[in-house]
């Protein structure tokens, strides 16, 4: 079982979403923003205090907190 999440990605790295392990409402919100299975997410930057994290997906940028990044599980390469 691979436990790598978006939080583990270094700045500049990309990963492919496999599952989202978040409470129902947050999961829905994340999916509405485009985090669905098989989509590629790139970590653009971390905020000055290390959190939140700026990511890009589907051609646009958004920021999420570390906690949400930990909810986004990645596929093995």
């Amino acid at each position: 079982m691979n436990n790598k999440t978006v939080e583990h990605l270094n700045v500049g790295e990309s990963g492919t979403i496999s599952t989202i392990k978040a409470p129902k409402a947050i999961k829905r919100r994340l999916m509405d923003m485009g985090f669905t299975k098989g989509i590629s997410v790139n970590v653009v930057k971390r905020a000055p205090m290390g959190d939140p994290i700026e990511v890009s997906l589907r051609g646009y940028n958004l920021c999420i907190r570390k906690e949400q990044a930990q909810d986004l599980l990645l596929k093995e390469n």
Binding site: T19, I20, A22, K24, A25, I26, K27, R28, R29, L30, M31, D32, M33, G34, T36, K37, I39, K45, R46, A47, P48, M49, G50, D51, P52, E54, R58, G59, Y60, N61, L62, C63, I64, R65, E67, Q68
Partner: protein
């Protein structure tokens, strides 16, 4: 008359389009959540509604709930789905939901100007075929394509073509078809299309289920069984399955209709602006620059000029009116009441104009979301979120729009706290009294004006820490915010917004403050027997002021003039200076305060209750009387206690 709804993602340009086609001014900005309330305007005889931006029809925050309710229940004759064409795939996700509502629709592909720049081509005809709806290319900011859009609107309002819905994967589609046929669907509101209801039933959408009677046991069991099956087939929960299917459709359509040049990694402003080390210094610098440019530079240049011209025109008017034998009563009222009262406020017009313009540019360019991004971690320590910083920045202009902008904060507890602390940031209307006191008592202390903001920040910090200490049910919250592309603010938007806000200030000077000045002048020149008094201390105003004054004596400003000024400050903070200047009848403020009590006076104004407009905004956002009065009591207590302490310390030091 037809009703048209403008719907789309945040930041797609709905409000810009709305401002272009109607005669109404909607607030525009480049961050998610600028429009928090629906705004109605007239577009060639059609009622047009600008709705808050949404990513999906599953609502999270109050303003999204509002949009959804409007789209569903106002039964619009036409939905214009405004799409940021540079962000086609995500925009189409919302489109897949809108087409299910069974209303005539138009897709407005906005930001055509940027599209060319980014080397993207969209096959308009193909896209139109996919959903069976007209597609129009527009650029709301440049004003192109608006005529074509109007032609399409007129055509579809007469044709009333209903869009076709995209088809999901067979197992899911089969369940939906069965549900559509179910007898239970007869209970659904007439305006809701069956297919949409079936999907919502499957998703157990709470807002939808409240509109429906109890689900019969048999159907309940059937739903549970089908849901279980689907979840097994797709290996995910039912909500996720539907979202996944919608995004698949959006991806497919994008693949067919869009040709994109491979993205080049470009240097963006963010490399510097959200840089690990530079981000926070830059934020402080930007805010400092905003205040320096407006208050120090423009204010410093214009204030003495305007004061001089008011003084010389007053004395000229005096001679002029006397020579015509105008009753001294009237000329005194005009000059000492109206001109000195309203004039004291108008002096600040140029610097507020610049402040409003700069804030509008900040909102428009896309920097606001970056501030939220870099400040989120720090704000979280106070029980707030990155999104709380936006109301605080807007609050430097006016607390009313600031309090309303808290609606983008999804979490109720955070929203309440943000509303509570927003008035601690001194708004533009509090600047006149600050400058008056600072200029009179501390003319060389340049650091005092910035310090007022700093005191506000300390009050927010203290409040945040108290709330964190007393909060027994701490929960982790999500923070999900789009970082839109930077854009150059358009002259039109900046001008419209600055003008709209400045006009509000001028209108207030001409109405509330004018009236207040006359009343104050009257009460300070007459006693209870309506006899004119030469000594203002015998006036009715003094009587009233003396009645309240004991409350403020411990804080150092127990004079009747100061008390009355605070009282009129409830109506509008600008009128504090007007009241003082009318009540003092030409005497200097230095006769009223000492250094210590003068500072205590402005500190109390800074932290105590905001004006009536902001109070009513607070009340309507809280929606709960008890919470509102609690918040007000907290603000007053904090103001009183901290001013008392600071005054006592200053007495010893100064």
């Amino acid at each position: 008359m037809a009703t048209i709804c403008l719907v789309g993602n945040p930041n797609c340009g709905k409000s810009t389009l709305f401002n272009k086609v109607t005669n109404t001014i909607a607030h525009v900005g480049n961050w998610a959540g600028v429009t928090v309330e629906e705004k109605a305007g007239d577009w060639d005889g059609n009622k047009t509604l600008d709705l808050p931006g949404i990513y999906s029809l599953s609502p999270y925050s109050p303003e999204e709930t509002l949009s959804r309710r409007f789209i569903l229940d106002s039964e619009p004759d036409l939905i214009i789905d405004v799409i940021d064409a540079t962000n086609l795939e995500r925009s189409l996700y919302l489109t897949t939901q809108l087409v299910e509502l069974g209303r005539p629709m138009i897709l407005a592909l906005n930001m055509q100007d940027l599209l060319r720049k980014e080397g993207i081509k969209i096959d308009q005809k193909q896209l139109s075929k996919m959903f069976n709806i007209p597609v129009v290319n527009i650029s709301a900011s440049k004003g192109t394509g608006i005529e074509e859009l109007k032609i399409a609107v007129d055509k579809i309002l007469s044709d009333k073509v209903i869009p076709s819905c995209p088809i999901f994967a067979p197992p899911l589609e089969k369940v939906i078809t069965e549900l559509i046929e179910d007898d239970f669907m007869h209970h659904a509101p007439q305006a809701y299309p069956r297919r949409w209801c079936a999907i919502k039933l499957l998703e157990k959408d709470e807002l939808f289920l409240t509109r429906m009677p109890q689900i019969p046991e048999k159907l309940q069991a059937h739903l549970a069984q089908e849901t279980k099956n689907l979840e097994k087939i797709f290996d995910d929960d039912i909500d996720a399955i539907v979202i996944d299917q919608r995004y698949h459709i959006a991806e497919d359509i994008t693949r067919i209709c869009e040709v994109k040049a491979s993205p080049v990694k470009k240097f963006t402003i963010d490399t510097i602006v959200t840089n690990k080390f530079l981000a926070i210094p830059i934020f402080v610098l930007v805010m400092g620059l905003v205040f320096y440019l407006s208050i120090s530079l423009v204010g410093g240049l214009t204030t003495p000029l305007i004061e001089q011209s008011i003084a010389s025109s007053s004395s000229f008017l005096h001679i002029f009116l006397d020579s015509f034998g105008v009753l001294p009563f009237l000329s005194d009222m005009l000059i000492d009441g109206i001109i000195s009262g309203v004039g004291a406020v108008l002096t600040f017009l140029p610097q507020l104009f610049v402040l409003f313009a700069l804030l509008s540019i900040l909102e428009d360019c896309g920097y606001m979301s970056r501030i939220a991004f870099i400040m989120d971690r720090a704000m979280r320590a106070l029980g707030l979120s990155g999104k709380s910083i936006i109301p605080l920045v807007i609050g430097t202009g006016c607390s009313v729009p600031a309090i309303m902008s808290t609606r983008t904060i999804e979490h109720p507890k955070m929203r309440k706290l943000t509303i509570l602390v927003t008035p601690f940031i001194p708004c533009g209307a509090k600047l006149p009294i600050f400058s008056l006191i600072i200029a009179s008592f501390f003319p060389t202390a340049w650091y005092l004006a910035p310090m007022m903001y700093f005191i506000g920040i300390i009050a927010i910090t203290v409040t945040g820490i108290i709330s964190q200490l007393t909060d027994r049910h701490k929960e982790s919250n999500a923070f999900i915010l789009e970082l839109p592309r930077y854009q150059v603010p358009t002259w039109r938007n900046t001008w419209l917004q600055t003008w709209d806000r400045t006009r509000g200030f001028v209108v207030k000077a001409g109405t509330t403050i004018l009236l207040a000045s006359i009343i104050i002048w009257f009460f300070s020149n007459f006693n209870v027997r309506l006899q004119s008094v030469s000594d203002p201390t015998e006036s009715m105003l003094a009587l009233l002021g003396r009645f309240i004054a004991p409350i403020f004596r411990p804080l150092g400003f127990g004079s009747w003039q100061a008390s009355v000024a605070l009282l009129t400050g409830i109506a509008a903070k600008e009128s504090i200076v007007s009241t003082l200047s009318v009540a003092l009848q030409g005497a200097s403020v230095t006769t009223l305060f000492t250094k210590a009590s003068g500072f205590a006076f402005i500190m109390f104004i800074l932290l105590s209750s905001p004006c009536i407009a902001a109070l009513s905004a607070m009340a309507s956002e809280y929606k709960d009387r008890k919470v509102f009065w609690g918040a007000l009591a907290y603000q007053m207590t904090l103001a009183y206690v901290s001013t008392f302490i600071v005054y006592r310390i200053l007495l010893g030091v100064l």
